[in-house]
Structure formats: C-alpha cells, structure tokens
Amino acid sequence: MENITPLLISLRIACTSTLFSFFLGVLAAWWVTRLSLRWQTFLDGLLTLPLVLPPTVTGLFLLILFGKNGFIGKMLLSLGIRVVFTVEGAVIAAFVVSFPLMYRTVKAAFEQIDPDLIYAGQILGMKDFEIFRRIQIPLALPGIAAGLVLTFARSLGEFGATLMVAGNIPGKTQTVSLMIYTASAAGDMSLAIKWTLVIVIISLSSIGLMNLAIAKMRKYS
C-alpha cells in the first residue's frame, strides 16, 4: 500500500470518538434510566436524533455550532482551538453521529436488568454509584461491548458529517471513506477497491472480536 496516511487518520478519529462515546454513552444511559418517564422520552429523542438525520444535516448543525461565529466555535477559538477543517472537527463529527448507537445499546442493556436486583442492592445498603459499578455495569457488559463495536464501525465509516465539518484535506482530514470517494470520483477504481477491502476487513474483524468477547462475558448467565 503506497500511502497509509488515510488509514491512520481514520483509525485515530474512530478510536478517539469511540473513547468519548464509551464514557459519555454509558453515563448518559445510566443517567437517563434514572429520570422520570417523561424526561426519558424527551432525552431519548434528542440523543437519538443524529442517528436518524441525514449526516449532511448533522454536519450543517455542527458547522453552525462550531463555526467561527457559532456559539461553541467562538468559545473554542478564544482558547485557540479551531474545529472546522481540522482532525478535531472530524472527531466531533464522528462522535456526534455514532454516539446514539452507544447510548441506545447500553440503555437497552440497562433496561434488561431485573429491577429487583437494583432494589436488592439499595436495601442491602449499596450506594447508587456502587450499584452502577458492581451490578449494572457487569450485567450490561455484553451490551456495552456491542455498543463499542457499533460505535467504532460507524465512526470509521463516517462520511457526510465529516466532509461538512472537516473537509477532505489529503494528509490532514482525508479519511479512508473520503479517500474511496475521491478515488472513485477521479476514476481510480483499483485504489478505491483496495481501500474498500481494508474497511471491510477491519469491520469484519471488529464484529468477530465482539462476538468472542460477548461469548466470554456470558459465562455466568
């Protein structure tokens, strides 16, 4: 392979965004399941929105928020951080688009847990965070693993929102997905197919790893 820079950029973006999705997704899922049903419905809708909106629409929203004149963009600029047309922007785009997958999968896993187990923990004097750490997280692990793989795969494949926010700058923000688009648009089919194979292999092996991990975790249920 002549130049693996797009792959490195893709992996870097996907790993960083997955890391954020992991922590924020698990915490958000935990937090939302503790709220009243009305708030749950509202937040569920809000947090799932990026999953159902066209990525270009999400990208546009992000541009408005993080642009030079955007609410968050202004604050970040004053700290010397530029988001638009940078790899940080690509991470934000990948995170926002893939976060709902983590949030929804983990929330479903939390909801699967018999509420009597949580009650039992409370009656036994366990603090809420202790119940989260020692009961809810271990029992939701298969769901968390599934969420991780889905989030990683979605981040790796992100195209639309990334293009809108971070652009398609070779060597800087050009990911594998963007590279495939650029190559095939330029008629370089063999290059496009090479990169397509790389993406397929990475995606397949992460799904395989997930299934292995879940099989291991299910040992006591």
Partner: protein, 347 residues
C-alpha cells in the same frame, strides 16, 4: 422489636391503605390474591416505593412520616427483603453476594464464613448463583440478609417460584431459621397454608385495603369479611338473609338453616367449610337431603358437589371428604348435616 405501619398511596385507580402494628417480634402474615397490594406494602417499608401519606416506624425508628417530612432512603433503613426470585447478583459468587451487604468497615472473613456455614453453603463459596439449586439460592439470599442483622425481615412470596415437592422441605428449612430469629417478620403470600404454618398474626388484603387483621388462629376460625372467608379457603359462600329468630336463608343454595345466634346487622354472607359436613339422619338439626351432582377426585380426598334435593340453586355446595372416611360407604349418604356452630357469618 416492633413496627407501626399506617400508609396510604394512590397509584392510578389503585388505592393502598394499610395499618399494621406489632409490639412483639412475631411473624405477621399478609394474605391476598396477586395484585392486592401486599408486595407494595413491603416495598413501602423497604423504601422502594414512597407512600403518599402516613408513617412507618420500625423499632422506634421513623422510616417515613409524611407530616414530619421524613423519608429515609432504602440504604438508611436497614431492612431485610427476600425477593420472590431471591434477586441474587448473577455476576457475583455466593461469597461476594453475601458480602455485598456489608460495609468495608464491618467486613470480616470470619463473619462471612460463619453465615456460609450456618446456611449450609460450605464448598459453594466460589460458585455463581446460576450453579445453585433453588433451595441453595434461597439460603444464599437469606445469608446475605441475615449477615446485616436487619431491624425487620420481609419475605415476599418466597415459595411461589418452587415446585410443590421442593416447597415443603424449603418451608421446613425456613421455619428452622426463623424460629430463633428474634425480629419482626412480615411474610407475604397468597397461600393460606403457608400463612397458617408460619405466622402468629395475619391480615387479609383485598384491592389495596387491609380488611381483616388478627391472630392467625382467630382469623381462620372466625373470619369477619367475605374476602377473609374465601382466602382462608372456604369453598361454600352464599349471600344470607334472616328468615326467623335464629334461622337464615342461604339464597345461592336455596337452603334454610338454623343458627346459633340471631343474624347481626351488617352480616351479608354465610360460609360453610367443605369438610364440616357430616352424614346424618333425617331428624337431626340442619339435616339437608342431598342430590349429588358431580364428584371431583384429588389424590387423597374427594370433593362432592351437591344441592338440596328438589331445588335449582344458583350454586352447588361442596363436601370435601378424605378417601379414608368414605372407604366404607357403598353409596352417598342421603342426608348431610352442618352444625349451627360451624356456620360462619361475615360482613
């Protein structure tokens, strides 16, 4: 060792209204059909559900008082709760489950070992709950509760998830553990046998309300309400109307019987326990000339459904007789008697 519970809660079209009070460490039973609010009552005491109004005081400590604005968290109440399915943490071993309820400063290996031994779980310390039998799971859950020495112990239908063959031996096991446990115990069940076997006092619940509350013996011998009558296992219940000084008409059976006392105001139903009928002669008091309609056999007893000869009643009566008793009978008796003192009259 006492408790004083007086709570009300509105949950949609369900209204919970329960008053329970004990001054001695006894086992108090709550008998009721599923959905009558008995588990909800326990969850209120444990702090899982918050009542709208009232108070919950255990051993002099106020857990909940709507007037004073007191509502302790479940973690602060130190209660013991045995769930129907035991609620053991599936990701933890037996040992870890038992240790889950003790704080780091109270943690001691010896204490855990002592409970493991007491509940017959030696050798199972490193197993996960899924590797235990139903009985072992229940003992593990009890060990996890007992190690915390709770102020009040609540048992929520602890036998309903078990086969009947296993149930008997587990009931005996539990009786052993509870016998010398000097604490208040609330026991919830829909089984009158379990309530009768385990509880000194018992209440009957119907649609969220506690409608009868007495010593278990008195509750079964002299139920005061129709629900108590039917939940304590009375199969023959009919509306009743006074038809003379000490006589009453049981309208569903088209039957008039002599009573011990005149019917008091407020009495609406009469009940006859199915095993209280005895064969008799025509001239005996309350002799009923019977016509057998159907016989339903159980392994060791028969339920003989009959009516008074020559009438078309709304309901049949049931005479329950053990097979030993009818062994010598070649045919059904023509007359059955119910003694006036065995007729139960309720509101």
């Amino acid at each position: 060792m006492s408790f004083d519970i007086d709570i009300q809660k509105d949950a949609g079209d369900f209204h919970l209204d329960v008053k329970l009070k004990e001054d001695a460490p006894v086992i108090t039973g709550l008998l009721g059909a599923s959905g009558c609010g008995k588990s909800m009552t326990l969850k209120c005491v444990a702090g899982i559900i918050t009542p709208d109004k009232g108070k919950i005081v255990v051993n002099g400590e106020t857990y909940f008082d709507s007037e004073k604005g007191i509502n302790l968290k479940p973690q602060e109440r130190k209660t013991g709760y045995l769930f129907q399915n035991y609620a053991l943490f599936p990701n933890m071993t037996v040992e870890e489950n038992i240790a889950a309820g003790i704080s780091r400063k109270d943690f001691s290996k010896e204490k855990i070992q002592a409970e493991i031994k007491r509940f017959g779980l030696s050798g199972k310390e490193k197993l996960h709950p899924s590797a235990l039998s139903g009985g072992q799971q229940q003992r593990c859950a009890l060990a996890r509760i007992f190690i915390r020495d709770p102020n009040i112990l609540m048992l929520d239908e602890p036998f309903s998830a078990l086969d009947s063959s296993l149930r008997w031996s587990l009931q005996q096991d539990l009786l052993q553990f509870l016998k010398d446990y000097n604490r208040s115990i609330l026991f919830v069940s829909h089984s009158r046998d379990e309530i009768y076997m385990l509880c000194e006092n018992a209440g009957v619940m119907e649609e969220g309300r506690l409608i009868d509350y007495d010593s278990t013996k008195r509750l079964f011998a002299h139920p005061r309400t129709r629900a108590a009558l039917s939940l304590t296992g009375c199969r023959n219940i009919s509306p009743v109307k006074a038809s003379g000084e000490k006589r009453a008409l049981f309208t569903d059976w088209d039957l008039e019987l002599e009573l011990n006392h005149p019917i008091k105001p407020g009495i609406l139903f009469g009940g006859i326990r199915a095993h209280y009928f005895t064969p008799c002669r025509k001239e005996d008091v309350n002799a009923i000339e019977i016509e057998v309609v159907q016989v339903i056999n159980e392994p060791f007893a028969s339920n003989i459904l009959f009516k008074k000869k020559g009438v078309h009643p709304k309901q049949l009566m049931c005479w329950r007789v053990s097979h030993d008793q009818i062994k010598d009978l070649t045919e059904f008796p023509s007359y059955l008697q119910i003694l006036p003192e065995n007729i139960l009259l309720v509101e």
